[in-house]
């Protein structure tokens, strides 16, 4: 947005649900989609007398994240109570980390730029409220219903530094963060299902100034696309306001996907006095050297490194490498296909994956694990093309069939009789037959100008292919035609 003389300063707060078997402080299943209020116990319902006990896996996941992004892990972190009343919060306080979080000072590289991450802390999720009547909107609803299955699900809140300058960069940051969390196996990071929720703090300032403008917090974006749109809208709104001589009000604004605008929410004055104090029901977390080392050892290859390797080893483009790594399981699928490859290039495997396979996944909404095509099937397909058995165009049809139902490329080729005719003698016979049967066209070719030549040659080629039911090797046919027509 520097064109208008302003630049945006953006910080992002991501809440990520951790993919543990159980909740943060109790043994209830951490599972999406169960019948309401079936995954609850005295602890996550906040029943009188119940007490929290911290899930070991949550600490392990946080330490793994720390090892991946170079966070400092303080000797001790503590939990605090954030006190406020809300019906989706069973105790009317949230157990969260406040003054002493488990991770501080990390960073992530996004398109060559380091974005600082101030802190990552652990906290419990709230229940889910459904607003009844009034079109499901909170303000117009007649009443609400609460399901506490999600209450107590472990969240890691990841707070970036205000190092982000554009909506595009914000999207790239979130996308990179998702990739890392997914690679680490600590979260499903699905924005649509709410296992990753991102709020943005946005302010603008004249280019060249150091001081921050008044920041506005934007909530309620549930996809990368809406995150980008919301930030762009908010930047424009703030610039327009400043240009009009207005003052930016520090507030929370909600993104409305339907009208493509952010809307201010009136909040009661003084309602945000959270009265934090150390949670007396929990003791400090002091990760041992052993725990830190085990977490570091559990860090797999991260997306950036994997992309670089794909570019170097397979010769794919940076953009294709990103698709392969970003789509769940796609790079693993491609790698297995490359391993199974006897004939053909890794790059061809990658092209099929980012092309037809991706298109099929997008179209059907399926995930890669449920495809009927196994990686070695794709390897077989690439081999058939490389060997000249089928053309690329035929391969597209064969692949489409293999993606629809469980079969093998070689089997489809055999069933459909698709093997390409590459026998020069057989092809020459067909060419001669076609030329003899179309003597007029041959004559017109010979006497015609370039344009006519091109047209007649195409016609004769088409007749040859027709005679071969499309299975003639096009390179060989072209060579024979050139030879006979010379």
């Amino acid at each position: 947005m520097t064109t208008s003389g302003y630049e945006a300063v953006i910080g992002l707060e991501a809440h990520v649900e951790l993919a543990t078997a159980t909740k943060l402080f109790c043994g209830c299943p951490n599972e999406f989609g169960a019948a309401p209020n079936t995954h609850v116990c005295p602890v996550c319902l906040g029943l009188p007398g119940s007490l929290p006990v911290l899930n070991r896996a949550v600490v392990e996941y946080a330490l793994r994240f720390a090892a991946a992004l170079g966070f400092r892990v303080p000797d001790e972190s503590i939990f605090a109570r954030k006190n406020y009343f809300y019906p989706d919060m069973p105790k009317d306080y949230q157990i969260s980390q406040y003054e002493e979080p488990i991770l501080v000072d990390g960073s992530i590289e996004v398109d060559g730029v380091h974005i600082g991450i101030e802190r990552a802390h652990l906290e419990e999720d709230t229940g889910k409220t459904t607003h009844m009547g009034g079109g499901g909107r909170i303000h117009e609803a007649d009443y609400s219903l609460v399901d506490y299955n999600r209450a107590g699900v472990p969240l890691m809140e990841i707070v970036s530094r205000p190092d982000i300058r554009t909506a595009e960069q914000a999207r790239a940051y979130v996308s990179e963060l998702r990739g890392v969390l997914k690679a680490l196996g600590v979260s499903d990071v699905k924005m649509e299902e709410g296992s990753m929720r991102v709020d943005a703090n946005v302010s603008v300032r004249p280019v060249g100034t150091e001081a921050f403008g008044t920041k506005v917090e934007i909530k309620n974006m549930n996809s990368l696309r809406s995150l980008g749109r919301a930030i762009d809208f908010e930047i424009e709104r703030q610039i327009a306001a400043l240009e009009a001589g207005e003052r930016i009000v520090q507030e929370t604004r909600h993104w409305d996907e339907a009208d493509g605008r952010t809307h201010g929410m009136r909040t009661k004055e003084g309602s945000s006095d959270y009265r934090y104090f150390p949670e007396p029901d929990l003791v400090p977390v002091a990760p041992s050297g052993e725990m830190r080392a085990a977490a570091a050892a559990a860090v797999p290859e991260l997306p950036a490194a994997r992309r670089a390797r794909l570019v170097a080893d397979w010769g794919v483009s940076e953009a294709d490498a990103r698709v392969l790594v970003d789509v769940d399981g796609l790079a693993d699928f491609a790698a297995a296909a490359v391993d199974a490859l006897r004939d053909g290039a890794a790059r061809d495997v990658a092209n099929w994956c980012t092309g037809d396979v991706m298109a099929h996944l997008n179209e059907t909404g399926l995930s890669i694990e449920v495809l009927p095509l196994a990686p070695d099937g794709l390897a077989e397909l690439v081999g058939l093309v490389a060997a000249g058995t089928i053309s690329r165009n035929q391969a597209k049809d064969v692949l489409a069939e293999c993606l629809r139902a469980p079969t093998r490329p070689a089997q489809v080729v055999a069933e459909r009789g698709l093997e390409q005719v590459s026998d020069t003698g057989a092809l020459a016979a067909v060419v001669d037959e076609v030329l003899a049967a179309n003597a007029d066209a041959v004559a017109e070719y010979r006497s015609g100008d370039d344009k006519a030549k091109k047209k007649k040659r195409g016609f004769l080629m088409g007749e040859c292919m027709k005679a071969l039911r499309g299975q003639g090797n096009p390179q060989l046919l072209n060579a024979l035609l050139d030879e006979r027509l010379a």
Binding site: P42, L45, G46, L47, P48, G49, S50, L51, P52, V53, L54, R81, N83, F85, P87, P90, K91, D92, Y93, S144, V146, D273, R275, Y276, F277, P280, D281, L282, V283
Partner: protein, 474 residues
């Protein structure tokens, strides 16, 4: 008299049935409960079934455990599965927890027979058991007087012979002070010694469950059953405590006992109470201990610090009573109104006072001056005690500055009521153990309790001193 110990021994040996024992206690309840009002709920039928089950075990040759057939009364802030648990508050009236507190499970597993749920100051906030939504409990020694609080119902149940044993909770003296006023033994164990799982929280960093009993040996019997690590309480000590029973009568010869200056001379300590403490000190000397005066200077700040920390934690712990998931709801057009009306109707004046005080102490701009300061005072007090325990094995003080006072005497003056806990509070702030043992009588022939204090996890020493005092009390 070691009623519980004798009952358990007789039942285990088949000399008495648990059912007989229970009927004897139910008869006493029938006779006097209407004037004492120790219980919110007497569980006669459930207790009969439990006693019969104990008898069946004995008949089958099995051992029901160390509490075989002993009736136990539970303070009504301990969760009992399927049995109303009210905290003597309207806001929880009718609520039946879907789970048992760890201590309840342990009592039952040891063969104990739960006799009923005892009255308390609402949410354990008070020192007289007058702050109950269900009416006050009266002191069995003189029914015109309070039994102390907040575990007044449990203290009265033991003093009236309704049950040989009872459990209470102690946040600032709520076991020891009523024990003193009713003439029973009452123990506040080291923080973390007994699981808090299923104890409805008042102030989480101070709360601790402990026994009431007619004798030191009986208190040891019950504490041995309930103490020990619990994976459901993060603040429960992982150390398995030594059994108290075996060393109980090892005597006090050679023990060094300190008499805490600041508490013996605390504001409002009655001369008869001070006398009782002096006589207790003399008795310990006669039994071979050395007794000296000791100063623990920062305990004078204990009361102030406590009345910032406990309400602060309580304001948060009691937020969940909002009319949404359980208990009382008073309707309102929107959630906030419903919450506020429910809480206004559901909570009594003392609970509201503490919620307001605690919310204020934590609120923006006041945290450092109040809650923050109080937590630092806690460090001072702990350090001062540590210095004292370098020189002494146990410390001595009054439990309550006064004997039992008449109902209503302090009802309109919160500060005067708060002063009842001036001697007991420092122990909770430090997380140490302390107990009250009856030692003679004071004004109007009412019981006086002497407080024995020890360092964290030094309960075996504390019980030796308590036993020595009991043997010389009369």
């Amino acid at each position: 008299m070691s009623a519980a110990t004798e009952i358990a021994a007789a039942v285990r040996a088949g000399r008495r049935t648990a059912r007989d024992v229970l009927e004897e206690h139910l008869a006493r309840i029938d006779a006097r409960e209407s004037e004492v009002h120790a219980f919110n709920l007497v569980l006669a039928d459930e207790a009969r079934a439990a006693a019969d089950a104990v008898d069946a075990l004995v008949a089958s040759g099995a051992d029901p455990g160390p509490l075989a057939g002993v009736p136990v009364a539970l303070k009504d802030n301990l969760c009992t599965r399927g049995v109303p648990t009210t905290c003597s508050s309207r806001i929880l009236a009718g609520w039946r927890p879907p789970y048992d507190a760890t201590v309840v499970q342990r009592v039952v597993a040891a063969g104990g027979v739960v006799a009923g749920k005892t009255n308390l100051d609402e949410f354990a906030m008070g020192s007289s058991t007058e702050n109950s939504a269900f009416g006050p409990t009266r002191n069995p020694r003189d029914v015109s007087r309070v039994p102390g609080g907040s575990s007044g119902g449990s203290a009265a149940a033991v003093a009236a012979g309704f049950a040989p044993l009872a459990l209470g909770s102690d946040t600032g003296g709520s076991i020891r002070q009523p024990a003193a006023l009713c003439g029973t033994v009452g123990v506040k164990p080291t923080y973390g010694a007994v699981s808090r799982y299923g104890l409805v929280a008042f102030a989480s960093s101070l709360d601790q469950i402990g026994p009431f009993a007619g004798s030191v040996a009986d208190a040891a019997l019950l504490l041995d059953v309930i103490a020990g690590p619990d994976p459901l309480d993060s603040t429960s000590s992982p150390r398995v405590p030594a059994a108290l029973g075996p060393g109980l009568r090892d005597g006090v010869a050679g023990l060094r006992v300190g008499l805490i200056d600041e508490l013996v001379d605390a504001e409002g300590v009655e001369p008869e109470v001070r006398d009782a403490v002096s006589r207790a000190a003399a008795a310990l000397e006669a039994a071979g201990a050395t007794v000296e005066r000791v100063s623990v200077p920062s305990v004078v700040y204990g009361l102030s610090a406590y009345y910032l920390i406990a309400p602060a934690e309580a304001s948060s712990n009691l937020a969940r009573y909002d009319g949404v998931r359980y208990g009382l709801r008073v309707d309102g057009d929107d959630v906030a109104t419903m919450n506020a009306r429910t809480r206004d109707v559901g909570f009594g004046p003392e609970v509201k006072r503490r919620i307001m005080l605690g919310t204020y102490a934590l609120s923006a701009g006041y945290y450092d001056a109040y809650y923050g300061k109080a937590q630092r005072v806690r460090t001072l007090i702990t350090r001062d005690f540590a210095r004292a325990y370098e020189r002494f094995d146990a410390l001595l003080s009054p439990t309550s500055p006064t004997v039992a006072f008449p109902l209503g005497a302090k009802a309109d003056n919160p500060l005067a009521m708060y002063l009842s806990d001036v001697c007991t509070i420092p122990t909770n702030l430090a997380g140490h153990a302390a107990a009250s043992v009856p030692f003679g009588t004071g004004r109007d022939g009412l019981p006086v309790g002497v407080q024995v204090l020890v360092d964290a996890e030094q309960e075996p020493t504390m019980f030796r001193v308590m036993q020595a005092l009991e043997e010389r009390a009369s």
